[in-house]
Symmetry: C2
Subunit: 480 residues, 2 copies
């Protein structure tokens, strides 16, 4: 482990990410809300660190060093953002400010704030911006680095990206980042334009677009998307949540092939749409049966939006669903655990792992009656080796165990089981809102400082797909 190499790359990444402070800073200057210097403060800090870092020689990080760089960056950038929240006075305490920052950067969208609308607009813009850069950051990470050292989907994603493992990770990261950035910008631009056409102000359109394409879920309204009382706004956002929850490399490939076929032949796209379709029908049926809504259209409107927001792990809400029948609430948590496409901004175990799980289980069931049967699991046109299946299973069990253990720890602080476990699921999947006290009408503000820091840790664990962070904690990681 060459710590100088790690330091250099971490400080470089932190500086690059900190450039995003300029966006709300300029806005702050324009509206003249006096927060301009608060935005520059963390930027200066990261610039100083960057100047320190470039003293060290610029060497290619090896796999373990790259892991450490990513993990440290994900923990440290929210510290810079927290410094801004504290400095600006918007969120004066560290645990709160760090939680809100991690929640933004991991595109979770859980908030400690009870009255969002009372914040200065430039602060709201920064909040949404953390989603946007966290989203693109994660996609670049998952498309370029997960294939090298990632968990579960590593070998699979490598295949999908049609790339062999390379010792040199940097060129790969840069190349991916360039292609994806264009897609991400185009998605963002399209949604801003459409939301503007629906009658939103440019400010609202930009904020909600950032939170949508990053499947983040921060809103500038206390009532989230429901505040706009507009069916078209909800539909535009729903469609873009789905678009943001697809593998962003598909857009690139579709463009190069001049064909949308790559979308409709993709197993993860089909899986996500199937899950959304079935869950919407189920939710509509329950809502109508329990007389929560009495007409088909209204039931569709709210059921579809809530299903999409859960399946894409965005976490917006178009209505306060706290008092919906418990089976839909459970469904929302299940959907977020499954999640959407790999290579998207969404969380959860991801569609391809879910599909692999279903296929393996089906084969094993058949094997019960035919003990000598040998089977193969394939996804797309690729047969998965047993060792890959094993890695996927290990990932799924670590993921669920982590969710269970954090839920358990939160419960040990004295919270009720529904609140504790749904908060844990909402944080690891990057869904955002949970059930009980952390439901759509509540927030995470009532948790104590240690709890907020634990949940921040869990958000980062979930975002980095758990393995990378745990690997760093193993003694063998630090041996040569």
């Amino acid at each position: 482990m060459r710590l100088q190499v790690v330091f250099r790359h971490v400080t470089f990444l932190l500086f690059i990410l900190s450039l995003s402070f300029l966006f709300p800073a300029v806005y702050s200057l324009w509206v003249n809300d006096g927060l301009f210097m608060s935005f520059l403060y963390p930027l200066f800090l990261s610039f100083s660190l960057f100047l320190l870092g470039i003293q060290f020689e610029n060497k290619e990080p090896k796999v373990k060093e790259a892991i450490l760089v990513v993990v440290l960056t994900w923990f440290l950038f929210p510290v810079l953002s927290a410094l801004f929240y504290i400095e600006s006075g918007a969120i004066p305490y560290f645990a709160d400010a760090y939680f809100e920052s991690v929640s933004g950067f991991t595109t979770t969208g859980a908030s400690v704030l009870s009255d969002i609308e009372s914040l200065p607009k430039s602060v709201l813009l920064w909040r949404s911006t953390t989603h946007w850069i966290g989203g693109i950051g994660f996609v670049v990470f998952s498309l370029s680095l997960l294939p090298v050292f990632g968990a579960g989907g590593a070998q699979l994603m490598r295949f999908e990206a049609a790339k062999a493992i390379e010792e040199k990770v940097l060129p790969r990261v840069k190349e991916t980042a360039r292609a994806i950035l264009v897609v991400y910008l185009l998605l963002t631009l399209s949604e801003v334009v459409l939301l503007k056409l629906c009658g939103m102000s440019l400010f609202q359109a930009i904020n909600h677009t950032f939170a949508t394409v990053a499947t983040g879920g921060f809103s500038t309204k206390n009532e989230s998307v429901g505040a706009f009382h507009s069916f078209t706004v909800e539909m535009v956002i729903a469609v873009f949540m789905i678009l943001g929850a697809l593998n962003l490399s598909l857009y690139y490939r579709a463009f190069r092939a001049r064909s949308l076929k790559v979308f409709f032949s993709n197993h993860e796209v089909k899986g996500l749409l199937a899950v959304i379709f079935i869950s919407t029908l189920f939710s509509m049926a329950v809502l109508l049966k329990e007389h929560v809504y009495t007409d088909l259209f209204t039931a569709f409107r709210y059921a579809f939006f809530q299903v999409v927001t859960a399946a894409t792990t965005t976490g917006f809400s178009s209505t306060d669903y706290t008092n919906w029948p418990p089976s839909i609430l459970a469904l929302i948590m299940f959907l977020s655990l499954i999640g959407a496409s790999s290579g998207s901004t969404a969380g959860g175990i991801k569609q391809f792992r879910f599909i692999v799980m279903l296929k393996t289980v089906y084969s094993e069931l058949k094997k019960t009656a035919h003990p000598r049967m040998v089977y193969r699991v394939s996804i797309g046109n690729r047969v998965l080796e047993l060792s890959i299946l094993n890695t996927i299973w290990a990932f799924i069990s670590v993921y669920f165990s982590t969710a269970a253990i954090f839920g358990f720890i939160i419960a040990a602080f004295g919270h009720d089981l529904v609140t504790s476990f749904s908060a844990s699921v909402a944080c690891i999947t990057s869904l955002g809102p949970g059930l009980g006290r952390v439901g759509p009408a509540g927030n995470f503000g009532f948790f104590s400082d240690p709890e907020k820091l634990l949940l921040s840790l869990e958000m980062i664990l979930g975002r980095l797909e758990v393995f990378a962070v745990f690997a760093v904690l193993l003694p063998s990681f630090w041996k040569e």
Copy 2:
């Protein structure tokens, strides 16, 4: 599929099992409570079926036929028991009577009854007897048949039993049954004697022994074991719950080797004891911290008993723990999901699968930083092939998914999430009591008939380790 062969063996098994009606029947004659004929009625019925069955030629069942025999027997014997409950007037409605019978026979111990003490004593004795025969029936099944067609642990258990797969299953079943029956009878006798020495009446001693060694959990008291207000009774029962939750073939092997070493070198024994030790310490700490109990002894007394009852999936209670801190309640459900030893009467995913999961996950974490690493998972002195690991993973995910889906279905009937999901976990793991409305002070009586039948199905699914039942539902099962 030769249905005549299946019919012959099912009717034979049902008749053998029905002979157990004679035990409470004789007791009923002795106390002269007028229920004698009610006990004979299902016995006559099964005898008639048996006479029908032996018309068919006695042929060795093949694997698929054996699966069907086991599944049908597990669904049908509770029907005979339900007929008794209805006929005797003790539980007049079918869904209730079937639920109580399945709960007994699967050693779950969940009850629809609110006032157990009001039942005639011979009925209580039958209730406990269903535990006892269900327990021995399951152990014979899991030691002799699971190794042939079982899920997950199949290949592993086969190795542990030091037996190769044989096409002829019957001799294997008979041989296992003989060895295990002796162990089971000795355990039963020892506990009855000890409980008698603790001052229990012979009737109470026998009933609680049946429910203990089968890790069943039916009590003859509304307050369960807590009704005796005796620390020694609680300790005797706790020790026998643990003894009943160990692989019964270990006793046989220890006897042949004239050494207890086989116990202390067994990974499942060590795993169970470690889990109980850690969980007891944790629960004591929480109970003392939250001032539920103020002295160390009382905290140990109740924490230890409740941890053992959960880890062995027995489901007794020595106090109403409904208002204990939520983290302990969650722990109780986790413990039952892990469960105890394979080849015991306990439920859950079993210690060896849990250990395999931990070992694989640890290896995969190390692999993150060393992508080219090749690892092996071993248990005892046996290295597990990847295909075995894969079967185990599939089992675990089907098991947890089934628990989640049934919890979801119960929630869809309109129950709160804690009640729904804990009821589901309590049924699939054969724990018995859950949380919320199905907690230690509650019962399953308030569920509607369809819900009771669904939960009965889930208890059987859990008991037969899921795969066997689902396999029967696959079209490929019925093809030649």
